[in-house]
Symmetry: C2
Subunit: 185 residues, 2 copies
Amino acid sequence: MRPARISRTQVLDATLDLAAEAGLAAVTMRAVAARLEVTPMALYRHVGDKQGLLDGLVERLMAEIAVPAEAKDTDWRAVLRTMADNVRVIARRYPDLFMLLFQRRAVTEGAQGPRQTVYRALRSAGVPEEELSSLERLLSTLVYGFAASEAGGRFAGLNIEAEFEYGAARIEQLVEAAARGDSAG
Amino acid sequence: MRPARISRTQVLDATLDLAAEAGLAAVTMRAVAARLEVTPMALYRHVGDKQGLLDGLVERLMAEIAVPAEAKDTDWRAVLRTMADNVRVIARRYPDLFMLLFQRRAVTEGAQGPRQTVYRALRSAGVPEEELSSLERLLSTLVYGFAASEAGGRFAGLNIEAEFEYGAARIEQLVEAAARGDSAG
DNA sequence: ACCTGAACACCGTTCAAGT
DNA sequence: ACCTGAACACCGTTCAAGT
């Protein structure tokens, strides 16, 4: 053996840069390799294959979403809004890469961080324990759908911030209703 | 000139079949051409290029969503549920193709049909006119996000019907609140 | 007008070889 | 252990040619 010229981390970093600059279509084993000044085949030892590279990217995206640390003890409305904004920023930076998050199991390890943060926010709002996971899923699904729509261009021509405000207000309405126990049926 | 061997309609039909059977990755100009027993280059006259082919596909998907005719005068809850189910069926049939709908402007011609149907449903529920478009957008965004999550595998391991039920109930709650005018301030 | 055939510049990936 | 180089079976698309 001899010192490694590149690492998995470097490969993912380079790919993320490439994706942000030129989109997912430009993410090719050969282009990533060129960016690292290495042969395409050199990547295979570090990421397995193209699919492995893509998996590594969404893993990274998840991790980026997972850092709302700042908004920790503030009120639940601010926490939820901050997390939603976080997701939107990522979606705008990697518009087509973002779509791959829909192919990632929501229950996975990497998604634990943000989910627990949302749970805490919902608990502090008074949402009953047994409704936490369903409500969290509803919220994240809406946020993902919104971010994908915004980044993908589905919302082109609309006042996106106004739409976001409307959605955020409706979500808060649902959380408050859940806290009152209106979801019982 | 001489009689056309293939038409745009046939090309899209063949591609949709191919996509349903083998996924978007298998949708290649060459594979579509082979299915029609024609040279790859023969497609270009009918769909422009690969992007044109893809555009034609999402156009078709939109059209498939647009046919909830049956549930016309029944109650608004049934109409909304039927439309959501419609979208979910399409997403399951074309899991990766479905993601392309996020890149399609929501305000486009092809989306008019389903949107007007939702408007009617919301009106009959008592939702004020000025809130129609925002609420419809919130609903469709959630449904798209849900369908993409289900089809993409994000919801793997969950009781998806139960999740859908939960979401549907929350949506109805929002519609009822809007009808009462709770969204004002 | 519509289709074919050969060609070009790309892909991901294998395999044997170098250090 | 890590990287290279040549090769293979694919892509989308151009261009000139056939009917």
